[in-house]
C-alpha cells in the first residue's frame, strides 16, 4: 500500500521530472559551467572552479594581473537593451492599433485575422530575415520606393545598421505584441465602450480612459514578450546587423564558438537571465490581478 501523501508525490512525479530534466538540469549545468576554468580548445576543466568569467564581464586583467574596468561587454548589453526597447516601442505602436482593429471585427473575421497574424510563424526565421536583406540593401525595394516617391535620392545604407536590426526584430516579434493585446481587448465587454460614449466621452477619451487602461495587462505582456526575446536575439542581428551591431545573443554565441570561452558565454547568459527575471518580477508586482468577487 502506498500512503496518501506517497500517492500524491507519485502523481506529480512526471511534471517534476519534466521540469527537472528540461529546465533545472540544463540551467544548472550552465550555471556550473560559468563557474569553471575554460578549457584551452573550448569546453571546460571540470575540476577547476573560479568566478573569473563573471569578473571578466566587467574587468579585464593587464599583464600585471591588475583589474581594469572594461566596458565593452556592458556596451553590448546597453546596445541590446536600447535596440530591444526600440523594438518593443515600435511593435507597440504598430501592434496596438492592429489588435484594436481585430477586436472590433465581427467574430468570424477575427479568427481569419488571427490566422493572418500568425502566418509568418509558418516560415523559417532565417528565410524571413534574408528577405529583409533583399528589402533593405542598397538598390533594394525600400530604397527604390523612397527614390520613386522622391523622398531621397541617396543610397540609404540601411542594411547592416542598428536601424535594420530594429526593423527586423520588430517584424519578427510583432505577433507577440498583437496577440496578448488582442486577447485583453477581445474579452473586454463592448458595452463598456458604449457606456463611455453614452456618458459623453468622445472616441479619444473612450480610448484613453477606458480601452487603454483595460488593455494594460495585455500591453505589458506584449512588451515583455517582445522585449525579452529581442534581448537574446541571434539570427536577426547577425544577418541584418552585419556583425557591426553586435547584440548579447551574438556575443554569447561567439564565446561558445570562435572564442572558445564556455564559462564566459555561460556567465553572460546568466547575467542576461538575471536582468530578465528582474523585469518579470517588476511586471508581476505591478500588474498582479486584483482580487475577484467580494
Amino acid at each position: 500500500m502506498v500512503s496518501a501523501s506517497g500517492k500524491r508525490i507519485l502523481q506529480i512525479t512526471p511534471a517534476v521530472a519534466i521540469i527537472g530534466f528540461f529546465m533545472v538540469a540544463p540551467l544548472g549545468l550552465m550555471a556550473y559551467v560559468s563557474l569553471l576554468e575554460k578549457g584551452l580548445n573550448g569546453g571546460v576543466k571540470w575540476d577547476q572552479h573560479t568566478v573569473e568569467a563573471y569578473v571578466n564581464f566587467i574587468f579585464e586583467r593587464d599583464f600585471d594581473d591588475n583589474l581594469i574596468l572594461n566596458t565593452d561587454y556592458l556596451q553590448i548589453f546597453a546596445r541590446s537593451f536600447g535596440l530591444s526597447l526600440l523594438t518593443a516601442v515600435l511593435a507597440l505602436a504598430i501592434g496596438f492599433p492592429t489588435a484594436l482593429y481585430m477586436a472590433m471585427q465581427p467574430e468570424g473575421r477575427r479568427n481569419l485575422l488571427i490566422f493572418l497574424v500568425t502566418i509568418p510563424f509558418w516560415t523559417n526565421l532565417l528565410v524571413r530575415n534574408y528577405a529583409w536583406i533583399l528589402l533593405l540593401r542598397n538598390g533594394g525595394l525600400v530604397e527604390n520606393l523612397l527614390h520613386w516617391l522622391g523622398l531621397s535620392d541617396q543610397p540609404l545604407g540601411l542594411l547592416y545598421t542598428p536601424v535594420a536590426v530594429s526593423i527586423g526584430l520588430t517584424y519578427s516579434y510583432l505577433p507577440f505584441m498583437v496577440l496578448p493585446i488582442y486577447a485583453s481587448l477581445e474579452k473586454m465587454d463592448s458595452r463598456l465602450i458604449e457606456a463611455a460614449f453614452d456618458l459623453g466621452a468622445d472616441r479619444k477619451r473612450a480610448l484613453t480612459r477606458i480601452i487603454l487602461p483595460l488593455a494594460t495587462p495585455g500591453i505589458a505582456a506584449g512588451c515583455i514578450l517582445v522585449f525579452v526575446p529581442a534581448l537574446g536575439a541571434y539570427v536577426t542581428p547577425e544577418l541584418l546587423g552585419g556583425g557591426k551591431s553586435m547584440m548579447i545573443g551574438n556575443l554569447i554565441q561567439g564565446q561558445f564558438g570562435a572564442a572558445r570561452n564556455w564559462p564566459f558565454g555561460a556567465a553572460l547568459a546568466f547575467a542576461l537571465l538575471a536582468i530578465v527575471l528582474l523585469a518579470m518580477t517588476i511586471y508581476l508586482m505591478r500588474f498582479r490581478r486584483p482580487p475577484e468577487g467580494h
Binding site: 463598456l192 458604449e194 457606456a195 463611455a196 453614452d198 456618458l199 459623453g200 466621452a201 468622445d202 483595460l214
Partner: protein
Amino acid sequence: MTTPAIEARGLSKTFGAGSEAVHALDDVSLTIRQNEFFTLLGPSGCGKTTLLRLIGGFEQPSKGDVFLEGQQLTGLPPFKRPINTVFQSYALFPHLSVGQNIAFGLEMLGRPKEEREARVEQMLDLVKLDGYANRKPAQLSGGQQQRVALARALASQPKVLLLDEPLSALDLKLRKEMQIELKRLQTETGITFVFVTHDQEEALTMSDRIAVMENGHILQIGSPTEIYEHPQRRFVADFIGETNFLEGRIETAGHSAVARLACGSSLALNGQAGSTDGEAVTLAVRPERAIIVPAGGASSEGGLPAKVGAVVYMGTDTTYHLTLADGTPFVVRSQNSEGARLDLANGADVTVQIAPAALQRLAD
C-alpha cells in the same frame, strides 16, 4: 401642451441586406411625455431594444427621425445626446472605483472636481450606497452594481434615462425591491424614464404608459389599466396576463349586440357598436372577471356550460381549468375568501357567467 420628451417619427431599422435583411423596426412612431415612466414591452426580438438604441444613438435609423424636446437627434453620436443609458449588464468600468464611475459623465462634461465630488455623494445617497465610493465594482453584489449603474447614468442629469432590461439579472426579491426603487428615483429626479422589458408584471407595476411591441411594430400604447383591461389585439391580451379567447359571430348587430359563440351559447355585448350581422369576433375575458357557478344552482341561467378539469389551489386564489361545450379551454380564477371556494370534482358540470363589461372585443 408641452413638447414631448421623445418623439419618434416613422422609425425603421433594417439589419443586413438583401434576402438576409432583418426588419427590427418597421415604421414606428411614438411620443413619450416629459417626466413619464414609459415602458417598451414585448418578447425578445420584438424590436424594443433596437428602438431604445436608436433613441440612445448607438444605432442609426434606416428611415425616420428621433426628436428630443423638439430637437432632431438623428445623426448625433451618443456622446452628444443628453440621454444616458443603464445597460442590461450594467457595463460599469471595472478599473474605476464606484465614485469614479459615477463621476465619469460629469468629468466628460468638464465639470470641476468639487462639483463632481459633491454630486457623487448626492448620487450615492440617492441610491442608498453611502460610503461605497472607494469600492471597485467587482466588490459589489448584483443589486449594488445595479444601483451604481443607475447613479452613474443619473449623475449628469440627463433629459431622458434609457433602461435596457436592467432588472433581468436580479433575483425575484431584489427585482421587486428595485422596481419600487426605480419608480421612487423617477419620481424624485423628475427625469423621463424609457424602460425596456419583456416582463409584463414589471411593466404593469412601474409604468405610467406602456407600449406593447411585436415584430418591429407597436401594437398598443396605453396606461397599465388600459393595456390590461382593454387590450385591442389578441397578442396584447395574450402577452399581458392570462386571457380566455372566445370566438364567435355577431348575431344581432346594433347597440345591444349578441355574439353567438363557437361553443353554442350566446353572450350579450354591451356597447360594442359598429358591428354587422354575421361578422366574426374574438372576445377576451380575464380569468378573474368570469364567475363560476355550479350547475343547477340559483344563478346558472344564461352562462356558458362547461366541464371542470383541474382545480389548482394557489394560496390567495384558486384556478379552475374548464372546458367549454366545443372543447375550448377556459380558465376561471377566484379569490379564496371565506366560503367562496367551490369543492368541484373533475368532470363536474358548471356554468361560467361573464358580465358584458368583462368582455373585451379584439381587433384581430
